[in-house]
Point group: C2
Chain length 145, copies 2
């Protein structure tokens, strides 16, 4: 496996080995995609045909424990994973499911205020904004991507 940059570096620095499967899994999540384990498997298999779903799950667990990957949503059936970039929130289209990463700096301050009123410490927050994206707003009621 060639470079893949700082990404593989995270694995190398950990106590885990850098294998083709792990690099490919990481690569599948680059550029901010939000994918389920099965979707990741598809992408990984495009490069490494024999990979099993079990390995994907095991790899995702490891990557999460190192902090390179995080679960974005558990809703409904399968969990969705994403690369752990800088802190961000999510804008999700309720129609087509598209997910956009957004930064909402005010969110944390707002959360801290509320949390402190209740005596909470070490505060963090997750904001999920939902709505119909531009494309889905145009379309009246058809079926698209």
């Amino acid at each position: 496996m060639q470079d893949t940059k700082g990404v593989d570096a995270g694995l190398l620095q950990s106590r885990y080995r850098l294998t083709k499967q792990r690099a490919a899994t990481l690569r599948a999540l680059e550029d901010g995609r939000h994918l389920s384990a099965e979707e990741i498997l598809e992408r990984v298999r495009a490069q490494l045909p024999g990979v099993s779903l079990g390995t994907i799950y095991r790899t995702l667990d490891i990557l999460r424990s190192i902090g390179l990957v995080q679960i974005f949503s558990h809703a409904g059936g399968a969990a969705k994973y994403e690369a752990a970039l800088e802190k961000h929130h999510h804008l999700v289209c309720t129609r087509c499911g598209e997910v956009i990463n957004v930064s909402v700096n005010e969110a944390l301050a707002l959360s801290q205020t509320v949390a402190q009123e209740h005596g909470f410490h070490d505060v963090d927050c997750a904001l999920v904004v939902t709505g119909r994206c531009a494309r889905c707003t145009d379309v009246p009621a058809g079926a698209n991507t």
Copy 2:
């Protein structure tokens, strides 16, 4: 607690029948509790010993479709359900798991601003604030509730 009034009313007005099981399920979620299906089953069985888990799930689906109940979180294993009160957000202790309902009015305006920048419409949002609650902050590192 005896407010089973407006609550059952929702069921009566719907096309569904008001059964003991449904009333009990609704009652289990009163006063803002956040429970899993199994936890609801426990509480319901305290009053109706023979109820099955399947019925709890079926009932929760119906109550969700009527808008009386909603899923609060899908994290990890089992989903957590709560009564659908007025719009609110959640403050969750990462240590003991306690969940407190809070109102954060600014959250929606903030979300709408971000959403509109991306051309989204019909915007809504969900804010989850996490941290260690007062009780869990006091305790150094033991095990409690």
